[in-house]
Amino acid sequence: MILAGIQPAAEMVHWWFATGFLVLGLLLAAEAVVGPEVWGLRPWRRYLWPGFAFAMGVLMFPVMTFFTSSTIHMVAHGSWAEVLLLAGGAELGVARGKLRSPRWRACSALALAVSGAAFLVHEQNHWLFSRAAFLHHLLGWSLLLAAAFPLVQAVRPRSLTAALGFASTLLFVAVLLYCDRDTAAIFGHLDFYAGVPHR
Protein backbone atom coordinates (compact mmCIF):
# COMPACT_ATOMS: atom_id res chain seq x y z
CA MET A 1 0.00 0.00 0.00
CA ILE A 2 2.81 2.41 0.87
CA LEU A 3 4.53 1.39 -2.34
CA ALA A 4 1.39 2.12 -4.35
CA GLY A 5 1.64 5.75 -3.23
CA ILE A 6 5.18 6.32 -4.42
CA GLN A 7 5.41 4.14 -7.51
CA PRO A 8 4.84 5.67 -10.97
CA ALA A 9 1.73 4.98 -13.04
CA ALA A 10 1.88 1.94 -15.33
CA GLU A 11 1.59 4.14 -18.44
CA MET A 12 4.81 5.94 -17.46
CA VAL A 13 6.66 2.62 -17.32
CA HIS A 14 5.35 1.90 -20.82
CA TRP A 15 6.78 5.26 -21.99
CA TRP A 16 10.17 4.44 -20.46
CA PHE A 17 10.25 1.12 -22.26
CA ALA A 18 9.07 2.92 -25.41
CA THR A 19 12.18 5.08 -25.09
CA GLY A 20 14.27 1.94 -24.75
CA PHE A 21 12.75 0.50 -27.93
CA LEU A 22 13.30 3.83 -29.67
CA VAL A 23 17.00 3.60 -28.81
CA LEU A 24 17.13 -0.04 -29.97
CA GLY A 25 15.36 0.84 -33.21
CA LEU A 26 17.71 3.72 -33.99
CA LEU A 27 20.78 1.60 -33.28
CA LEU A 28 19.55 -1.24 -35.49
CA ALA A 29 18.51 1.17 -38.24
CA ALA A 30 21.95 2.78 -38.26
CA GLU A 31 23.62 -0.65 -38.30
CA ALA A 32 21.39 -1.76 -41.17
CA VAL A 33 22.19 1.36 -43.20
CA VAL A 34 25.98 1.27 -42.83
CA GLY A 35 26.35 -2.51 -42.67
CA PRO A 36 27.82 -4.76 -39.97
CA GLU A 37 31.45 -4.22 -41.12
CA VAL A 38 31.37 -0.45 -40.63
CA TRP A 39 29.28 -0.80 -37.49
CA GLY A 40 31.81 -3.20 -35.98
CA LEU A 41 34.86 -1.02 -36.64
CA ARG A 42 34.58 0.29 -33.07
CA PRO A 43 34.23 -2.79 -30.88
CA TRP A 44 32.13 -1.08 -28.19
CA ARG A 45 29.47 -0.33 -30.80
CA ARG A 46 28.85 -4.04 -31.35
CA TYR A 47 27.73 -4.38 -27.73
CA LEU A 48 25.38 -1.40 -27.77
CA TRP A 49 22.05 -2.82 -28.84
CA PRO A 50 22.50 -6.32 -27.37
CA GLY A 51 23.56 -4.78 -24.06
CA PHE A 52 20.63 -2.40 -24.15
CA ALA A 53 18.19 -5.23 -24.88
CA PHE A 54 19.69 -7.30 -22.06
CA ALA A 55 19.39 -4.37 -19.63
CA MET A 56 15.75 -3.89 -20.66
CA GLY A 57 15.18 -7.57 -19.89
CA VAL A 58 16.65 -7.13 -16.42
CA LEU A 59 14.50 -4.03 -15.83
CA MET A 60 11.39 -5.90 -16.95
CA PHE A 61 11.57 -8.10 -13.84
CA PRO A 62 10.78 -5.25 -11.40
CA VAL A 63 7.95 -4.28 -13.75
CA MET A 64 6.69 -7.85 -13.54
CA THR A 65 6.91 -7.72 -9.76
CA PHE A 66 5.37 -4.33 -9.04
CA PHE A 67 3.06 -3.52 -11.96
CA THR A 68 1.04 -6.65 -12.64
CA SER A 69 -2.43 -7.22 -11.28
CA SER A 70 -3.12 -10.82 -12.29
CA THR A 71 -1.24 -14.06 -12.80
CA ILE A 72 -1.53 -14.03 -16.58
CA HIS A 73 -0.38 -10.39 -16.61
CA MET A 74 2.62 -11.35 -14.50
CA VAL A 75 3.44 -14.36 -16.69
CA ALA A 76 3.29 -12.15 -19.82
CA HIS A 77 5.72 -9.61 -18.34
CA GLY A 78 7.94 -12.44 -17.11
CA SER A 79 8.06 -13.94 -20.59
CA TRP A 80 9.01 -10.55 -22.08
CA ALA A 81 11.80 -10.25 -19.53
CA GLU A 82 13.10 -13.73 -20.35
CA VAL A 83 13.04 -13.35 -24.12
CA LEU A 84 14.70 -9.92 -23.91
CA LEU A 85 17.46 -11.54 -21.86
CA LEU A 86 17.69 -14.41 -24.34
CA ALA A 87 17.87 -12.18 -27.43
CA GLY A 88 20.24 -9.70 -25.79
CA GLY A 89 22.41 -12.46 -24.36
CA ALA A 90 22.69 -14.33 -27.67
CA GLU A 91 23.62 -11.14 -29.51
CA LEU A 92 26.15 -10.27 -26.81
CA GLY A 93 27.70 -13.69 -27.38
CA VAL A 94 27.88 -13.02 -31.11
CA ALA A 95 29.36 -9.54 -30.51
CA ARG A 96 32.02 -11.00 -28.20
CA GLY A 97 32.85 -13.73 -30.69
CA LYS A 98 31.92 -16.59 -28.34
CA LEU A 99 29.02 -17.47 -30.63
CA ARG A 100 29.85 -17.51 -34.32
CA SER A 101 26.79 -18.65 -36.23
CA PRO A 102 24.43 -15.99 -37.65
CA ARG A 103 21.67 -18.46 -36.78
CA TRP A 104 21.74 -17.01 -33.25
CA ARG A 105 19.64 -14.14 -34.65
CA ALA A 106 16.81 -16.69 -34.49
CA CYS A 107 16.72 -15.93 -30.74
CA SER A 108 15.46 -12.45 -31.64
CA ALA A 109 12.83 -14.03 -33.87
CA LEU A 110 11.78 -16.26 -30.99
CA ALA A 111 11.70 -13.20 -28.71
CA LEU A 112 9.36 -11.35 -31.06
CA ALA A 113 7.11 -14.38 -31.54
CA VAL A 114 6.87 -15.15 -27.81
CA SER A 115 6.29 -11.46 -27.02
CA GLY A 116 3.55 -11.23 -29.63
CA ALA A 117 1.87 -14.38 -28.34
CA ALA A 118 2.09 -13.09 -24.75
CA PHE A 119 0.39 -9.84 -25.79
CA LEU A 120 -2.46 -11.73 -27.46
CA VAL A 121 -2.89 -14.36 -24.77
CA HIS A 122 -2.97 -11.98 -21.82
CA GLU A 123 -5.37 -9.47 -23.43
CA GLN A 124 -8.81 -10.64 -22.39
CA ASN A 125 -10.85 -7.86 -24.02
CA HIS A 126 -11.79 -7.08 -27.61
CA TRP A 127 -9.96 -4.60 -29.87
CA LEU A 128 -12.12 -1.53 -29.13
CA PHE A 129 -12.55 -2.14 -25.38
CA SER A 130 -9.99 0.59 -24.61
CA ARG A 131 -6.77 2.01 -26.04
CA ALA A 132 -4.68 -0.43 -24.01
CA ALA A 133 -6.66 -3.40 -25.36
CA PHE A 134 -6.30 -2.11 -28.93
CA LEU A 135 -2.56 -1.65 -28.49
CA HIS A 136 -2.20 -5.14 -27.02
CA HIS A 137 -3.91 -6.70 -30.05
CA LEU A 138 -1.98 -4.54 -32.53
CA LEU A 139 1.36 -5.17 -30.80
CA GLY A 140 0.67 -8.89 -30.57
CA TRP A 141 -0.13 -9.41 -34.24
CA SER A 142 2.61 -7.02 -35.39
CA LEU A 143 5.28 -8.80 -33.36
CA LEU A 144 4.12 -12.23 -34.51
CA LEU A 145 4.37 -11.17 -38.16
CA ALA A 146 7.58 -9.19 -37.68
CA ALA A 147 9.31 -12.26 -36.22
CA ALA A 148 9.90 -13.14 -39.87
CA PHE A 149 12.50 -10.35 -40.17
CA PRO A 150 15.10 -11.68 -37.69
CA LEU A 151 14.27 -15.20 -38.88
CA VAL A 152 15.28 -14.19 -42.42
CA GLN A 153 18.41 -12.54 -40.96
CA ALA A 154 19.33 -15.83 -39.30
CA VAL A 155 19.35 -17.49 -42.72
CA ARG A 156 20.48 -14.50 -44.81
CA PRO A 157 22.50 -12.23 -42.50
CA ARG A 158 23.18 -9.64 -45.22
CA SER A 159 19.53 -9.04 -46.11
CA LEU A 160 19.01 -5.27 -45.97
CA THR A 161 15.23 -5.65 -46.14
CA ALA A 162 15.19 -7.95 -43.12
CA ALA A 163 17.57 -5.68 -41.15
CA LEU A 164 15.51 -2.57 -41.87
CA GLY A 165 12.31 -4.51 -41.15
CA PHE A 166 13.63 -5.58 -37.75
CA ALA A 167 14.68 -2.00 -36.93
CA SER A 168 11.34 -0.61 -38.13
CA THR A 169 9.50 -3.15 -35.98
CA LEU A 170 11.24 -1.89 -32.83
CA LEU A 171 10.52 1.74 -33.80
CA PHE A 172 6.87 0.78 -34.36
CA VAL A 173 6.77 -0.88 -30.92
CA ALA A 174 8.17 2.35 -29.45
CA VAL A 175 5.42 4.43 -31.08
CA LEU A 176 2.68 2.07 -29.87
CA LEU A 177 4.06 2.03 -26.32
CA TYR A 178 4.22 5.84 -26.34
CA CYS A 179 0.51 5.79 -27.31
CA ASP A 180 -0.40 3.75 -24.22
CA ARG A 181 -2.55 5.28 -21.49
CA ASP A 182 -3.85 3.56 -18.37
CA THR A 183 -7.46 4.30 -19.32
CA ALA A 184 -8.26 6.04 -22.58
CA ALA A 185 -10.58 5.74 -25.57
CA ILE A 186 -9.56 4.31 -28.92
CA PHE A 187 -11.20 5.86 -32.02
CA GLY A 188 -13.92 7.23 -29.74
CA HIS A 189 -14.63 3.84 -28.14
CA LEU A 190 -14.21 3.18 -24.44
CA ASP A 191 -16.09 0.31 -22.84
CA PHE A 192 -18.17 1.06 -19.75
CA TYR A 193 -16.15 -1.52 -17.78
CA ALA A 194 -12.77 -0.04 -18.79
CA GLY A 195 -13.02 2.69 -16.14
CA VAL A 196 -12.86 6.45 -16.19
CA PRO A 197 -10.11 8.16 -18.19
CA HIS A 198 -7.98 10.15 -15.77
CA ARG A 199 -6.20 12.50 -18.16
Binding site: W15, T19, L26, V38, L41
Partner: protein
Protein backbone atom coordinates in the same frame (compact mmCIF):
# COMPACT_ATOMS: atom_id res chain seq x y z
CA UNK B 1 38.49 41.03 -37.84
CA UNK B 2 41.91 40.48 -39.37
CA UNK B 3 42.24 39.19 -42.93
CA UNK B 4 43.95 35.99 -41.67
CA UNK B 5 41.01 35.03 -39.46
CA UNK B 6 38.51 35.81 -42.23
CA UNK B 7 40.45 33.61 -44.66
CA UNK B 8 40.64 30.80 -42.07
CA UNK B 9 36.87 30.94 -41.48
CA UNK B 10 36.23 30.91 -45.23
CA UNK B 11 38.57 27.95 -45.72
CA UNK B 12 36.91 26.06 -42.86
CA UNK B 13 33.46 26.71 -44.36
CA UNK B 14 34.64 25.58 -47.76
CA UNK B 15 36.12 22.40 -46.25
CA UNK B 16 32.86 21.65 -44.42
CA UNK B 17 30.83 22.34 -47.56
CA UNK B 18 33.06 20.02 -49.60
CA UNK B 19 32.74 17.31 -46.92
CA UNK B 20 28.96 17.71 -46.91
CA UNK B 21 28.85 17.44 -50.72
CA UNK B 22 30.92 14.25 -50.63
CA UNK B 23 28.69 12.54 -48.04
CA UNK B 24 27.13 9.39 -49.35
CA UNK B 25 23.43 8.65 -49.15
CA UNK B 26 24.08 6.17 -46.34
CA UNK B 27 25.93 8.82 -44.31
CA UNK B 28 23.14 11.31 -44.85
CA UNK B 29 20.56 8.77 -43.66
CA UNK B 30 22.57 8.06 -40.49
CA UNK B 31 22.98 11.78 -39.84
CA UNK B 32 19.26 12.35 -40.33
CA UNK B 33 18.07 9.62 -37.94
CA UNK B 34 18.65 11.70 -34.80
CA UNK B 35 17.20 14.99 -36.07
CA UNK B 36 14.16 13.16 -37.49
CA UNK B 37 13.53 11.54 -34.10
CA UNK B 38 13.99 14.86 -32.30
CA UNK B 39 11.66 16.61 -34.76
CA UNK B 40 9.04 13.91 -34.19
CA UNK B 41 9.29 14.62 -30.46
CA UNK B 42 8.92 18.37 -31.05
CA UNK B 43 5.94 17.73 -33.33
CA UNK B 44 4.33 15.55 -30.67
CA UNK B 45 4.88 18.25 -28.04
CA UNK B 46 3.21 20.83 -30.30
CA UNK B 47 0.24 18.58 -31.07
CA UNK B 48 -0.24 17.42 -27.47
CA UNK B 49 1.27 20.14 -25.24
CA UNK B 50 -0.57 18.72 -22.21
CA UNK B 51 1.83 15.76 -22.36
CA UNK B 52 4.53 18.17 -21.12
CA UNK B 53 3.54 18.64 -17.50
CA UNK B 54 6.54 20.94 -17.08
CA UNK B 55 4.51 23.56 -18.96
CA UNK B 56 1.86 23.53 -16.22
CA UNK B 57 3.59 22.01 -13.19
CA UNK B 58 1.18 23.19 -10.50
CA UNK B 59 -0.30 20.26 -8.61
CA UNK B 60 1.77 17.61 -10.40
CA UNK B 61 3.58 14.92 -8.44
CA UNK B 62 7.19 13.89 -8.98
CA UNK B 63 6.47 11.12 -11.48
CA UNK B 64 4.22 13.28 -13.66
CA UNK B 65 6.96 15.90 -13.80
CA UNK B 66 9.58 13.26 -14.56
CA UNK B 67 7.54 11.49 -17.27
CA UNK B 68 7.78 13.77 -20.31
CA UNK B 69 7.58 11.37 -23.28
CA UNK B 70 7.94 13.99 -26.08
CA UNK B 71 11.11 15.23 -24.40
CA UNK B 72 12.40 11.65 -24.17
CA UNK B 73 12.08 11.35 -27.96
CA UNK B 74 13.86 14.68 -28.45
CA UNK B 75 16.61 13.68 -26.02
CA UNK B 76 17.18 10.31 -27.73
CA UNK B 77 17.39 12.00 -31.13
CA UNK B 78 19.82 14.68 -29.95
CA UNK B 79 22.05 12.21 -28.10
CA UNK B 80 22.11 9.85 -31.09
CA UNK B 81 23.09 12.73 -33.41
CA UNK B 82 25.77 14.09 -31.06
CA UNK B 83 27.29 10.93 -29.59
CA UNK B 84 26.86 8.15 -32.16
CA UNK B 85 26.22 9.49 -35.64
CA UNK B 86 29.56 11.36 -36.10
CA UNK B 87 31.62 8.25 -35.31
CA UNK B 88 29.49 6.03 -37.56
CA UNK B 89 29.76 8.48 -40.45
CA UNK B 90 33.52 8.88 -39.94
CA UNK B 91 33.97 5.10 -40.09
CA UNK B 92 31.70 4.87 -43.12
CA UNK B 93 33.69 7.62 -44.85
CA UNK B 94 36.95 5.79 -44.09
CA UNK B 95 35.65 2.52 -45.56
CA UNK B 96 34.18 4.25 -48.63
CA UNK B 97 37.52 5.99 -49.31
CA UNK B 98 39.30 2.62 -49.27
CA UNK B 99 36.80 1.13 -51.74
CA UNK B 100 37.85 1.39 -55.41
Amino acid sequence: MSADIAHTIRRTRETHAAAARSLSLRARIVLSLGPTTALAGVGWALVQPWRLTLLHPAGQGFWWLFAEPPLYAVLVGVLFRLLLAPGIVADLHRVEEREP
